[in-house]
Subunit: 402 residues, 2 copies
């Protein structure tokens, strides 16, 4: 990511942020972030599909009904999940104190939590830290906020993208933290986007859903969907462009820009997963429906046998064929073609022999490559980025939480 990216969520006009240590994690480690816009504006949100949802997700969903946002408070170190009514009360208290300190309605405050499941949120420490956080927010604080939302991610993930839309330069900023392959019970993916674009609420929600579908929803580290996964996008309109509405070319430009901001964040999550030595793109085409293409890509990308073969750099294409076959999708194996890094290995369901195997063996030594599957059933496609399954994955996820 470029130097410009480091401003992240504070890159667009009128956004300020900060991160600090409030006492959830060990001394000196940032664990609380605040993002504030100079004025309120439309907000879009996409949340975990998990039925067991954390308190902050439940609260954000309620606030999202009003459709207007101005501040986002995120803590790391504690997920506030499986904490029952006290957990919901704790989430509400933290939102309330942010609202009071900023002098805004509580429904304009969104919150996020990531960390251990099932422990009471240390709500007093958070509340005590809010005034200092509000004082500290600045247009240079994007990176500090990006650091404060990490759990065991190695690197902060921040990005900024700009484009001329409806006559004005529009900026989108973003930050994210990783999912999976990280510390026990901290497998949460959080993504926050800010933009100074003027855009209607429905257009923003639709744009975010599309961008997330093409980015965060296309990565799989270990197939586990957390109780806390959240992506929010807050827009304040300060770019002064003519408001973007659905179905216009400006909308399509905005979706493209938003996707361009989300994709590198999603890939950074893949690459930064501890234990990850490879990031592999699974491309599936020729499916009867998009859902079927996605199912095949998911089945390959979450197969432990495929993922350990990637780690071992073993050109074990038979495991990919076996994964395709058990995806639960109607197909004719005799029409399947598979290539690795552009090298054909399976034609009409049959392996192309030792020479092809030697060629794809070289592909498996690359840090990043593409597995391309053609099903020959229709015209629909999907893709997924996945990672390998390494010793370090097991080490990190098997170690004690304390």
């Amino acid at each position: 990511m470029s130097q410009n990216d480091s401003r992240g969520i504070t890159a667009p006009l009128g956004f300020r942020a900060a991160g600090l240590h409030c006492g959830i994690k060990k001394a000196g480690v940032l664990d609380l972030a605040l993002v504030v816009s100079d004025r309120s504006g439309p907000i879009g949100g996409v949340f975990t599909t998990n039925r067991v949802i954390a308190a902050p997700v439940a609260l954000d969903r309620l606030h999202l009904r009003h459709g207007v946002g101005r501040a986002i408070l995120i803590n790391s170190g504690n997920a506030n999940a499986c904490t029952g009514r006290p957990g919901m009360a704790a989430a509400q208290r933290t939102a309330a104190v942010v609202a009071r300190t900023l002098g805004i309605p509580i429904h304009e405050v969104f919150i996020g939590s990531t960390g251990v499941i099932g422990r009471p949120l240390p709500v007093d420490r958070i509340i005590k830290a809010v005034p200092a956080l509000v004082e500290r927010v600045s247009s240079l604080g994007g990176l500090s906020a990006a650091r404060a939302i990490l759990t065991t991610d190695l690197k902060p993930k921040a990005i900024a993208r700009r484009a001329r839309i409806n006559g004005r330069m529009v900026i989108i900023g973003g930050m994210a933290k990783g999912s999976g392959m990280i510390h026990p019970a901290m497998a949460t993916m959080l993504g926050y986007l800010t933009t100074d674009a003027a855009i209607t609420r429905t257009a923003l929600q639709r744009a975010l859903t599309q961008a997330v579908d093409d980015s965060f929803n296309c990565i799989s580290v270990d197939g586990d969907t957390s109780t806390n996964d959240t992506v929010l996008c807050l827009a304040n309109g300060l770019a002064g462009n003519r408001p973007i509405t659905e179905g216009t070319s400006a909308f399509r430009q905005f979706v493209r820009l938003l996707t361009e901001a989300c994709q590198p964040l999603a890939l950074a999550i893949c690459r930064d997963g501890e234990g990850v030595t490879k990031v592999v793109k699974i491309e599936v085409e020729g499916a009867g429906t998009t859902l079927q293409a996605r199912q095949v890509a998911n089945t390959i990308g979450t197969s432990n046998l495929v993922k350990t073969a990637l780690f071992g750099e073993d050109a074990n294409w038979g495991r990919v064929m076996a994964a395709i076959g058990r995806a639960g999708v109607t197909m004719d194996p005799a029409k399947i073609h598979v290539s690795f890094g552009g090298v054909p290995m399976v034609r009409n369901g049959v392996g192309l022999g030792p020479a092809a195997e030697r060629r794809i063996a070289k592909v498996f030594h690359r840090k990043e490559f593409t597995i391309q599957v053609k099903l020959g059933q229709g015209r629909h496609r999907s893709h997924l980025w996945t990672t390998d399954l390494s010793y370090d994955y097991v080490r990190i996820n098997a170690s004690y939480r304390s």
Copy 2:
């Protein structure tokens, strides 16, 4: 398994078997097994749900239409999968030579293969070995056959069970080889049952389907379904009982006996997976439908985050809650109860605190225990045995095939 079990598939009257080295694997290692009944009889079969099926599975399905069996030939070291028409021709040639040598119709011969995917079957070596194999079969050869079907399993798996049904002592014998957690591209589960019971063909097929559903279909080592998975049950009627038909108490007795033969084989596959340090039973009850109960059990049992926590003996109940939530099943998290080894940890969706955590931490140190989930949605239930995900799983599955 008891000493009696070692006769395995040759325990019932009128079954003979042998295993030998034909040259697929390295010198001295058994790689070809034959099971022969003194007379032909009904046969039942259950096969992989994978759409990419190996040639022997395709051939067995064809032969099963006739419903009569007398011999089963199984090779290890080569799966004969993704081998196209030459693979199917090779499968047919091996069946034909067994039929010719025994002087029986080809459709009474069933075959099985397990090993590397996508390599041509060394059919000439197999054919050359058939006469010696036919000469060698004996009523003491069950264990030798059980050895010859292994790939990287550590131990042969053989069993025998007997009960009085319809006035006669009926014996069921069985052998199996493991699935998953084994050498690259050799993740196949094979199970073979023999019985001297007299039983109609439809009753046998129905009984096998039920027994497999309650045994082999209840284990998950790595969630991958192979291209070769096969369970066959061959009956020769030599026990002389009044033939068992569906809907009778004798049928229910037979199903119970068959299930009692299959379950220890299935559990032995779990325990024998290389890298396995724990076997954990997931019990789900209170689901709206049996399918939903199964989906929840499967999602918990195949979660890498749950499986690494089992390996690390980390009492990380939050991961179990997260898995339940993403199972794609309608539920009210506030009605969920979870206990570990009988110790309650989650009541109405909320964790019971540090004292409960300390108690379940002790449960996680056991070699085998049960995770019990109550969904509070209805009266349906399901269960699944799963294993942990260890360093050795990664080591074994990441290593080169050669």
